[in-house]
């Protein structure tokens, strides 16, 4: 029975000219956005590779300099993008493109692409993720809104029930047919996009891709179940459509933005100037229980004199400036870690606020999950920035230790005693992106919320089905 009903529904969808037109439009839009995204991601990857190679070559061939001045010339870290970034560029536009690694200070990533984008992007950036999250539900709504109400209006439902049709089976067939009709071309378009983009299908990427596909399935399923329930509940197609469009606008346009505004109002993030000033304050005045910069410096000097059994700094058998710098920077690194960890904690608390709002809008849950799978979310950025910070500390420690070992006493910054051999001895930054497990650990609440939405949608559909049964009896 179910198979017959399913075949019938699929045939009806196939014959619906409006659906064919809308589906074709969405498919073309999706294919277009995927192609555009593939081109953009390739260009970004090429630029990153070139910039990484050239900044490294500049570092390697600085020539004769004071080692600390060479360190201040600095290195750059560029975050490689995963293959799924072409489906969901996520926070790319809002994140700095380059991370400057220099002594003493940990910098946030800089040069946000959004600052160079024209005002048109404020209306919405047309990416595959945008098409999936925002536009795909409209196709589902267009398909589902008349689905039950039209059959009721035409009297088809009464005839079918007279022939012994069970309403739950009928509704289940409609839901399955919508899922098949919508998901097959959408997932096909995404797979084709990845193939054209030349993505190397590693096991990690497969898992991420499957998770994303499953999430899209849950999302479409939830939207379709709700839309069918509304169609069954509403008296006519126009009413169902108006209500569903209103719900859609609230879920994809209003709730995510209000949630973000609420998170911003509830959890404050310090201004850039205040953040930098607080770090400088803690470095100069010391964390609670530690001395200030001067007293810590005196303690370092005293420790060095004691360790080497000499009375004067000038007599120390090592580079004193470098030794002092090592101690100062170790403390600065500790202070920076404290402040940056607190900043990231605030970001994550804000993200949890937004996630809570996904109980009101499945679009938020899908967007969060797709960004996590594409590796373009906050957690992946933090992972990268932490790796870059570890590397920054290693580079500066290595240079200062070389300076400590190769000099004696206090040396002027005007002296140039390091050369290309030192710069080239510093290993490159080899960032390894985290695996699928890392993405899952961050995204499972979003998957759970999508599951809840599907269950809620199904419950609504069952309730609407009971209504139809009662209506048939009366």
């Amino acid at each position: 029975m179910m198979a017959v009903l399913l075949r019938h529904e699929l045939r009806a969808i196939g014959r619906d000219g409006r659906f064919a037109l809308l589906a074709l439009a969405l498919f073309l839009l999706l294919a277009g956005t995927v192609m555009q995204s593939v081109i953009a991601q390739r260009r970004l990857a090429d630029e990153q590779r070139a910039a990484a190679a050239e900044t490294r070559a500049q570092w390697d061939h600085q020539g004769g300099k004071h080692p600390h001045r060479g360190a201040h010339f600095g290195l750059y870290a560029f975050r490689p993008q995963g293959a799924l970034a072409m489906i969901d560029p996520g926070l790319q536009a809002q994140l700095g493109q380059a991370l400057w690694l220099e002594p003493h200070k940990r910098s946030p990533a800089r040069s946000r692409p959004v600052a160079d984008e024209p005002p048109a992007t404020r209306l919405g950036t047309l990416t595959p993720a945008f098409a999936l999250t925002v536009l795909l539900p409209l196709l589902v709504i267009a398909l589902c809104a008349p689905s039950v109400s039209a059959d009721r209006a035409r009297g088809t439902l009464r005839l079918l029930r007279g022939a012994g049709l069970r309403v739950p089976h009928w509704l289940a067939a409609k839901l399955l047919a919508v899922l098949i009709a919508v998901l097959l071309p959408v997932l096909g378009a995404l797979a084709a996009g990845l193939a054209v983009g030349g993505a190397a299908l590693t096991p990690g990427l497969w898992w991420r891709l499957l998770t994303l596909a499953a999430a899209i399935g849950l999302y479409v399923g939830a939207v379709a179940a709700i839309a069918l329930a509304v169609s069954a509940w509403a008296g006519d197609t126009r009413k169902a459509l108006a209500l569903l469009v209103g719900l859609w606008a609230a879920a994809v346009l209003v709730v995510p933005r209000l949630a973000a505004a609420g998170a911003h109002a509830a959890i404050d993030v310090p201004a850039a100037g205040a953040f930098a000033a607080a770090i400088q304050h803690d470095i100069h005045h010391g964390l609670p229980g530690d001395g200030d910069l001067a007293s810590r410096g005196r303690a370092v000097d005293a420790g060095l004199l004691r360790a080497h059994g000499v009375a004067r700094i000038e007599d120390l058998p090592l580079g004193v400036s470098a030794a002092r710098r090592l101690a100062r920077d170790a403390y600065a690194d500790k202070v920076h870690a404290l402040h940056f960890d607190a900043l990231w904690a605030r970001y994550h608390r804000q993200a949890r606020w937004v996630r809570a709002a996904s109980l009101l809008s499945p679009a938020i849950a899908l967007r969060s999950l797709s960004m996590a799978m594409a590796g373009t979310d906050l957690r992946h950025q933090q992972h990268f920035e932490q790796a870059a910070e570890t590397y920054r500390q290693q580079v500066n420690t290595a240079i200062d230790q070389w300076d400590r070992q190769h000099t004696r006493g206090l040396r002027s910054f005007e002296e140039k005693y390091a050369d290309d051999a030192l710069w080239q001895a510093i290993p490159g930054f080899a960032y390894v992106s985290p695996g699928a497990g890392f993405a899952w650990r961050g995204a499972w609440p979003d998957a759970a919320v999508l599951g809840l939405w599907l269950l809620g949608g199904l419950a609504l559909l069952v309730w609407a089905g009971h209504g139809l049964v009662r209506e048939g009896r009366s």
């Binding site: 200070k105 209306l123 536009l135 979310d377």
Partner: protein
């Protein structure tokens, strides 16, 4: 002839008035229409409060920054004493020159409440220095949660540009088809010689209701912003009126479609998506292909290359500077930081300024082109109008950066001879400090 037709024929004005009254009565008795308007008003008011507060906070921040700069200036002035040239004096002068320049800020215009976030994203603060502003990558970018920036509530102008058409299309996109499906159209044709006039009146009421919601929210946003001007508000209200009228025209075009009310509504949604999302994205893609922005990553490489060249040439640059300025006589012969760095900073600035300004110029150029074609997408045109009224457009930003460069040249020209001459800043020097254009009229 029906009674209505007879009445209209005898007293046309009275008939029109009755039609308007009847439609008004019908409108206010439709719960669905009222629900759409209430939802629209609620979202617009929330956005207006958000944007208005953002604008007010911005103006408060600007005032605070200026007050702090003036306080620093007054403190330094009190502490300043004339003294002999020395290494310590050069260092003190340098520290003042790099830390205490009055901040320059791109202030919002009278319509800032329409797009405060658009202004903030441009990095509208600038503090000039005698060092190399363009190689210090730690400056200039605000701290923000990228997730909230991506998802966050857009500026009021953007919210209005997105939601007003949706409301117009929902309320009026299928008026004709609804009337036909409900049998009302046939009845009106029987009652009136100009049944179409009834539809036009129904449309007009709906457009006025949508505009009234937007106008109320706009007034609220401007009322919250202490720097808002009546002129900006009036321009904006006019733009909104035109915008709503354009979408009303689009809705009237949908009436011509020989489809059901549901299908007409869907067609309206497709039109909204096409004009509000697809076309602006296509214009951006076209712009990227025709006149792409320079690469920020390539800029990093070019900046470092210049930085390295200047560093390698530091000794020569220092020697050349003193040779070109024989009137400056330093008290020492072996120069160290900061004096040894100053000619290098000048050379770096000369080489890096054109590189950095390419971004502002290209952004402004792209905006000029975008403004020429924005009529294709009414939502984009409204967003651009909001930016202009807020003072957050790329053209104004480019002019602001010009002013920053001019002021930096003045600041550098004032301090360079003093630092290179190892001079200490005296009270007279502080009175003659260059001031940025927006502070020249204010007394210290």
């Amino acid at each position: 002839m029906s009674p209505w037709q007879q009445h209209s024929a005898k007293r046309p004005m009275r008939g029109t008035w009755l039609l308007w009254c009847a439609e008004w009565q019908r409108l206010r008795r439709q719960p669905a229409v009222l629900a759409v308007l209430a939802a629209l008003l609620a979202v617009l008011l929330a956005s207006a409060v958000h944007s208005g507060l953002g604008a007010a906070a911005w103006r408060a921040q600007v005032a605070k920054g200026r007050a702090e700069a003036q306080a620093v200036h007054a403190r330094e002035h009190r502490a300043a004493v004339a003294g002999a040239a020395s290494v310590a004096a050069a260092l003190a002068t340098f520290q003042f020159a790099r830390q205490h320049a009055p901040p320059m800020v791109l202030e919002g215009e009278g319509g800032l409440a329409l797009a405060p976030a658009a202004l903030a994203v441009l990095s509208p603060w600038a503090t000039v220095t005698v060092e190399s502003r363009r190689t210090d990558t730690r400056q200039g970018e605000p701290l923000h949660n990228p997730l909230l920036a991506e998802l966050g509530l857009p500026d009021f102008a953007t919210v209005a540009a997105l939601l007003l058409p949706l409301a117009v299309l929902l309320l009026a996109g299928a008026l004709s088809q609804e009337a036909q499906e409900a049998g009302l159209w046939r009845w009106m044709q029987a009652q009136s010689a100009q049944a179409g006039r009834w539809l036009r009146v129904a449309l007009a009421w709906r457009l006025m209701a949508v505009w009234a919601c937007a106008a109320a929210a706009s007034v609220l946003a401007h009322a919250i912003d202490p720097g808002a001007t009546a002129a900006a508000l009036l321009w904006w209200l006019g733009a909104l009126m035109l915008y709503v009228a354009v979408w009303g025209l689009a809705a009237a075009c949908l009436w011509r479609l020989p489809v059901s009310a549901g299908a007409a509504l869907l067609a309206g949604l497709v039109l909204w998506i096409a004009l509000g999302f697809v076309l602006p994205a296509a214009l951006v893609a076209w712009l990227d292909g025709r006149m792409p922005m320079p690469s920020r990553l390539a800029d990093v490489v070019a900046t470092r290359a210049q930085q390295q060249r200047a560093e390698m040439a530091m000794d020569t640059l220092l020697h050349d500077w003193y040779a070109a300025h024989p009137q400056v006589r330093p008290p020492v012969t072996q120069h160290t930081w900061p004096v040894s760095f100053m000619p290098r900073y000048v050379a770096q600035e000369e080489a890096l300024r054109p590189l950095a300004r390419r971004f502002d110029e290209q952004r402004a150029q792209r905006l000029r082109v975008l403004e020429r074609v924005a009529w294709l997408s009414p939502p984009l045109a409204l967003v651009l109008a909001g930016d202009r009224l807020a003072g957050a457009d790329a053209l104004r930003y480019a002019r602001f950066k010009d002013e920053v460069d001019v002021f930096e040249d003045q600041w550098r020209a004032f301090f360079l001879p003093r630092i290179m001459g190892y001079a200490r800043l005296g009270p007279d020097d502080l009175l003659r400090l260059p001031r940025p254009p927006d502070l020249r009229t204010e007394g210290h």
